[in-house]
């Protein structure tokens, strides 16, 4: 057994087959360190709400070759999603959540995010384009609660997130709703 290998009893501990108290005293420190390693495992939730829309769009697109709800060329290439990674444990500060916004808009020159979290300022939160694929992303820390937002494409076109529920804003536009 090399110095980097755990003792077989410690492996049983990691497997949950024995407890720390059942380890011989001389293996306790090794066992505690090994358990700390498991404590570092990222078990946070991964949410991919846009997958439903994207899967169904691909299936429908193949069937019809053209989707009736994708008349605008830019929108035809746009898909959006918000991924928020929630930790399995309480986080500090207590109510902040990491949210990742993604918009696929290959023909856009710039994309930003406007919402209740930035006073609907269309210039406050630009998304960054990654590579030539037309994927625009922004990662924000938002307080837990409900937020409304929309993507602003090229400073003019307000696009709701197809991967999120939406509500009427009372002025003829649809806002996406994100509940954290």
């Amino acid at each position: 057994m090399s110095e980097h290998e755990y003792h077989p009893l410690v492996k049983q501990l990691l497997d949950g087959e024995i407890t720390l108290a059942e380890l011989p005293a001389e293996l306790r420190a090794e066992g505690e360190a090994a358990l700390q390693l498991l404590g570092m495992v990222d078990r946070s939730t991964v949410s991919v709400p846009a997958v439903t829309w994207r899967v169904m769009a691909r299936l429908e697109n193949r069937r019809r070759r053209a989707l009736p709800w994708l008349l605008a060329p830019a929108l035809a290439l746009a898909a959006a999603l918000a991924v928020w990674l929630l930790t399995a444990k309480p986080v500090a500060p207590a109510s902040m959540v990491t949210v990742r916004f993604v918009l696929v808009a290959p023909e856009a020159h710039n994309v930003s995010l406007a919402g209740t979290f930035n006073q609907w300022d269309a210039r406050a939160t630009p998304l960054v384009r990654s590579g030539a694929s037309g994927v625009w992303t922004a990662t924000l820390q938002l307080p837990a609660g409900q937020h409304q937002y929309a993507f602003v494409v090229d400073g003019q076109r307000w696009v709701p997130d197809p991967g999120a529920p939406a509500v009427d804003d009372g002025f003829g536009r649809r806002n996406s709703v994100l509940t954290l």
């Binding site: 949410s47 899967v55 444990k89 500090a92």
Partner: protein
């Protein structure tokens, strides 16, 4: 007749095969996040995981008539996703390309300070150094919380062989993390 929200996987699969394609969205909705986490930990990237899950659902739809037991759709779907993840790993051998969001998420957890965040990141990188077989067992047991028995059933593997993989993974992780002890 059961309400749609209570429909079993088998009900939905049979309905889709009978021509109600739109109901497939219910299956996607039901399982996308659960399996996105598996894929994210296997591929080291949320973006890659999202693509893998999407492709797997499209492929599953195409092959749905080959799902021998519609009530066990999710086990069958998992194998499709698993193949997709392993193929992706073979295709892109660019190790240690952790997704920025993962890193952000780890760094943002301040319950143990910067040192803890750094160790979390180190563990994420170390996981990418495992073989795909080793990492899969580790992910299913320590991220998804499955027992060896459940993993064995899902992968059609024996428990002793899974334990061997896992124990090698423990040693490899310890070696990879020796500078972070």
């Amino acid at each position: 007749m059961r309400p749609e929200s209570q429909a079993t996987d088998g009900d939905i699969v049979r309905s889709v095969l009978a021509g109600d394609r739109e109901r497939y969205a219910q299956l996607v909705e039901r399982y996308r996040d659960r399996y996105a986490r598996y894929a994210a930990r296997m591929l080291g990237s949320v973006d890659a995981a999202e693509d893998a899950v999407q492709d797997a659902f499209v492929r599953a739809f195409d092959q749905l008539s080959q799902c021998k037991d519609p009530d066990k759709f999710v086990g069958w779907f998992f194998l499709i996703l698993r193949n997709r993840c392993f193929a992706e790993r073979r295709r892109s051998r660019s190790e240690a390309s952790l997704d920025a969001a993962d890193s952000v998420a780890a760094a943002d957890r301040t319950d143990g300070g910067a040192e803890t965040a750094e160790r979390r990141r180190a563990l994420q990188h170390a996981l990418l150094a495992l073989t795909a077989d080793q990492r899969e067992v580790f992910v299913l047991k320590h991220v998804e919380g499955l027992s060896y028995g459940e993993i064995a059933e899902r992968l059609s593997a024996s428990i002793p062989s899974l334990k061997m993989r896992m124990h090698r993974a423990y040693d490899r992780l310890r070696e990879e993390l020796r500078d972070h002890a």
